[in-house]
């Protein structure tokens, strides 16, 4: 049971943003999608998660074809979080996280649903601010509140578009550790879009590298984190150092 992407293309107003992408994202573990701006990373993620209709091609998630499967059924299998989440409603963190149970409860949460909500809140250290309004939180806290919501959805597949956006170093590391724990302890399949190749290198099992709407490389961090590979992706020379068994790209100078 994997996420299978077959010959997916997408264009907006004559401009091709995704060009015949095919890949298999393995079950379990963390898969990171990297690539320069405008490579089509977010578009790929929103096509997989049915936020945007497929141009052509097919996607199946855990054996469910996303075009033909009931949306609520899919919502119990896969959760997606985009990078920008704007709320017009004034609601508390707990209310927001509780919306994650909607695919299961249909808006009438049971005792178990509420327990799952509290668990998700605790997982993201949001317990002290659970009754605060979301618009009173800092950017990072708000980001974590939304992640708690998709966590409460309790799905096998978790798709996150730049989950580290808005987070400082401490919270970025904590976020990646949490994702690692979800993958290792709960067997979840996590797909993230990240900009920092070093987070991708240190925490993921598979890296997909995209450029100009195409998937150009797929492999383990060890295979992708090589100077020649990264030059292909980013058009700059990145020195690779190995520190404690992790490959780190030095691209600041």
């Amino acid at each position: 049971m994997t996420i299978a992407v077959r010959n997916v293309s997408k264009s907006y107003g004559g401009q091709t943003v995704l060009d015949d992408v095919s890949c298999e994202i393995p079950q379990g573990g963390i898969t990171s999608i990297i690539g320069p701006n405008g490579a089509g990373k977010s578009t790929l993620l929103s096509l997989i998660s049915r936020l945007q209709p497929l141009g052509s091609g097919a996607v199946s998630v855990g054996g469910l074809d996303i075009a033909s499967t009931d949306s609520r059924r899919l919502a119990r299998t896969m959760a997606i979080l985009r990078q920008e989440n704007h709320l017009t409603m004034r609601l508390t963190v707990r209310d927001l996280v509780a919306f994650g149970r909607f695919p299961h409860s249909g808006g009438r949460p049971t005792v178990e649903d509420l327990a799952t909500v509290e668990e998700a809140i605790a997982h993201l250290d949001l317990a002290p601010m659970a009754d605060k309004f979301v618009d009173e939180l800092s950017g990072g806290q708000r980001q974590r509140a939304f992640i708690a919501m998709v966590l409460a959805q309790d799905t096998q597949y978790l798709l996150l578009d730049e989950p580290l956006n808005n987070l400082d170093m401490k919270h970025s590391v904590e976020m990646m550790r949490l994702l690692r724990r979800l993958a290792d302890d709960f067997g979840k399949t996590i797909v993230i879009v990240v900009h920092d190749i070093n987070f991708a290198s240190c925490y993921s099992d598979t890296i997909l590298a995209m450029k100009d709407g195409r998937l150009i490389h797929q492999g383990s961090p060890r295979q992708i984190m090589q100077q020649a590979m990264l030059r292909d992706v980013y058009d700059i020379d990145i020195r690779i150092e190995e520190i404690d068994g992790n490959r780190i790209g030095v691209y600041f100078t």
């Binding site: 059924r73 704007h86 017009t88 959805q153």
Partner: protein, 345 residues
Amino acid sequence: MPKAPALTSPAPVESAATPARGPLRRRLRNASPQLVVGVLLAATAAAVLFFLFFELKGNVGYILPRRAIKVSAMLLVAVAVGVSTLLFQTVTANRILTPSIMGFDSLYILVQTVMAFALGAAAVVTAPPTLQFGVEVVLMVAFSALLYRWMFTGATRSLHLLLLVGVILGSLFRGFSSLLQRLMEPSEFIILQDLFFASFNNVDPSLLGVAAVIVAVVCGAVWRARHTLDVLALGRDVAINVGVDHRRVVMRVLLACSLLVAVSTALVGPVTFFGLLVVSLGYQLCRGFSHAWLLPIVVLIGAIALVGGQLVLEKVFGFGTALSVVIEFTGGILFLYLLLKGSLK
């Protein structure tokens, strides 16, 4: 230069109200929704009873039914405008656009005018009102579905763009209507003009029954979908993520809005800012986000505003002005305030 009054007028209002507003606001926020609905319900009931029985003398058999018709029309309009505005703001995830601002009721007026123009005003007036109303509603729903679906079912669009499109569409419909009205025979135009003037003093009683049925059916469907509406208010992406068929639900909500706007416009004519006024007040009074509470609160505020307002106008000011004028004035100022406050992001 024309902008100056709009820019300066909200400022003194705010500075004058700030010291008193803080604690009152907090107290309002902390009121439970049950309490708010209870108080509003009592106030509505009081206003309705007062309207029906205050200074009831003379020919009771004549006056009471007339007052009953008026008050039922106001209640129906309160439900139709309140619910349609709330729904519309929910599915578009904003607090400024309303069906009226987007030109829904101008569209309805255009449909009425075109019918009168094609068939002759005499035919429109002599035809059974129910039949005429039915045809108009069907046309209205069809046209609004065609026009507005592309705007709201796709990916998120800029609110500024939508507002602009709405204003332009509204002016287009109004302009086209008035062109047709000028081409008509003056006598026919006078007959037609009666239909368009927002007033609770000349409601057609035969329409009330049909209107009540439409409003009841739509509200029943809306009530059943209240949990889905809560999710829709979080925006398109989140709604799809938790398994809501966004496109289908938005189409249904737009359909419900067209029906409700048609009902209220047919009964009393266009009221542009009334919906914005009651829904904004509703959000202020309701601590939660849940439509199970927002819906009744908005409807009750609308009922109090209409019945209470009409009462004050009739008893205090002796029909000195039309209620719609007062409501549009207050609502228009609120609209400017919301725009300037920067809710339009």
